[in-house]
Amino acid sequence: MRGSIGGGNPLNALEDEDLYQEPVRQIIKPLNQLDLSEAELREEHTRVLTATDPNVPNNVTKYNYKDRMYKIDPPGPGDHLAVHFSMDGCLLFRELDEAKQQLAYMEKKREEEEEAKRAAAAAAAEAGEEEPEADGGAGGKGGKNQFNYSERAAQTFTNPMRDRGVATEPPPMVNFSSTIAQWEIYDHYMQEYAASQQEAEHEAARRGIRRPDGGGGGRGRGRGGGDDTVHSAKMGGVLKMLERMANQNAEDEIFQDFKYWEDASDQFREGEGSLLPLWRFSTERTKKKQVTALCWNPRYPDLFAVGYGSYDFLRQGSGLVACFSLKNTGSPEYTLATESGVMCLDFHPLHHSLLAVGCYDGTVMVFDVRQRRGAPIYSSSIKTGKHTDPVWQVHWQCDEQPKELNFYSVSSDGRVANWIMSKNELKMEPVMQLKLVGGAREEPEVRHPLNGLAGGCCFDFNRHAEHLFIVGTEEGRVHKCSKAYSGQYLQTYEGHNMAVYALRWNPFHPRVFLSCSADWTVKLWDHALPQPVMSFDLGNAVGDVCWSPYSATVFAAVTSDGKVHVFDLAQNKHEPICEQKVVKRSRLTHVCFNLRDPIIIVGDDRGGVNSLKLSPNLRKVHEPAGEDGKLSARASAQAQADNMEKLLQVADTKPTPA
């Protein structure tokens, strides 16, 4: 009733205390709900509850057959009854018959049980047993009923059993066995005693040694050990790298020039070139020495060896070999000191760490540059034979592989020797004795009173005919010799008036060689002709001459006035295409072309080595016209030889001044 009233009135619903559940309530009004003002809502309507059902119609009219008319049938008291809930119970009233019957039945049943019990008790008494009665009495008093009793049991679930074990790792055990006997104990004690005795002796001895140097030696040694990292090989390597980096940074401009600079003016002048000085290699130790030999390493194109000594008979001193690298221009990579001045050196073309060195005192040595101890691995001695005069040139042979390594040397004692590196010593094999040739044509009647030997100054081996080599002597003659005949010369070339300083076979053409001499000239020879093919007067003693490795017609010569002359016979047969003074107030002694880069190194008599870059005009490679593209190495070599051949023919048509 109340709910129906409240449901119609939203304000009532708001105030309702019983609706506690929802804090936010949305009121949905029926569409047909009246809108009432506050006052109307506040107004109280009193309603009285009565037992009459307002829904029951009170105007039911029924036809009355008795009165034969329609009569209003007012609702009776039963009409106002509304049954909301009804349930049938199982209880009975005692007064009802049904109840009475049930009670009687139960009474009867109880009596029957009593009867049966009594009968059983009587039977038990008959059997003469006392206890059952007592028991029965006890049962009768409400305990367990002996007959109508069922025992009930419940079994709980039994958990399955599980085995579980833990084992720790046992402590490690060791087996040990021994025996003890009196003699063993004795021996052991004696051994201990002897050891302690020895220890004491050692201690005494050590103390005895240490005493003389007052303990300072020990401390010094200790300090040396502590500073080991500073002097270790690893540190050395690091420092070397650092030095190279520092040098490279400091000389960046020179490195740029070395790599990229090309003389632009070369395009505008034909047949002329220039040399760009790059680094100057020198060390404090070689200030007073003269550069007597230069040699590039055949394997590492940036590495070259320089021999230091003296050409002056009166000012001889110790010698030095320094290996410089273009990667570290500040100081040499290795230095090898020799007793006597170094006169010549040569790297082995295949075993690139082997360096043959000839000295002023006539010894020849072989160094392994990799071993930095500074001691030669082979050295000639008086016992094994040696030259008695300065060795002017050494040259490795690499013709027959299986043979032991060997090299040739020439000395002013008039001998050419072959040195064989046997297992433990350097074996000397004399190859040639340079007999004096009494200039047959010039003075046939004069016999040399002294049957001496000619002093060999230089030699070179022909690349194309292995047995063929030429030797230049102090007298100015050049002899063509063969390894096969040691007795005589194959030919003698006359043309130089003073000592021949250098002889070089052309690297491409098999017949052509160059000679340079103290008589200011450089001469070009064809070994088939007794006369020089060409002769160049350079106005000063020519210290060295060297063919370029890239062109058959280019060579460089250095003179004692400090000039470098570069010739390209294909461009100019009479004048050098470059003549440049590279050192002041000193003589140039040697020159050598790099095998890869367009640079030459020249050595002077003040212990310095200058590197020079050749301008593009100086390194023109004259390939025959009409052939396009790149030539193979062999074809290119052939082309170079052809160039030379052409040159020879031209020169031959013009007879040389006899």
Binding site: P171, P172, M173, V174, N175, F176, S177, S178, T179, I180, A181, Q182, I185, D187, H188, Y189, M190, Q191, E192, Y193, A194, Q197
Partner: protein, 106 residues
């Protein structure tokens, strides 16, 4: 060879030499072994006069048990052979005077 090396020693010298223990073999840390040697020499010294090696061994065993934990075994004798299995790092075998003393844990 040994005889050739060892010099002849007088009786007194030898006695002096054997008055200190020589460790023949030890498998333990240095601190532990020095402590064990001390215990063993002390025990042997105590009973050497009455030649009661058994008591000495008992004493050594008990003191080592107390010091390093159970369970130690000790053998003392002038001459015997043995083959034992011991817990690693817990064995010492030394000569002391005329006796060989072995102690190990297992």
């Amino acid at each position: 060879m040994l005889a050739a090396q060892t010099p002849e020693l007088s009786d007194a010298e030898y006695r002096k030499l054997v008055s200190k223990p020589v460790v023949k073999s030890a498998d333990m840390s240095p601190e532990m072994s020095s402590e064990a040697i001390e215990v063993m020499t002390m025990a042997v010294d105590k009973f050497i006069n009455v030649k009661n090696y058994e008591a000495a061994a008992q004493l050594i065993k008990n003191s080592l048990d107390k010091k390093f934990g159970a369970s130690w075994h000790c053998a003392i004798g002038e001459g015997f052979g043995f083959e034992i299995t011991y817990q690693k790092r817990n064995m010492i075998y030394m000569y002391y005077g005329q006796l060989g003393v072995l102690a190990y844990k297992c």
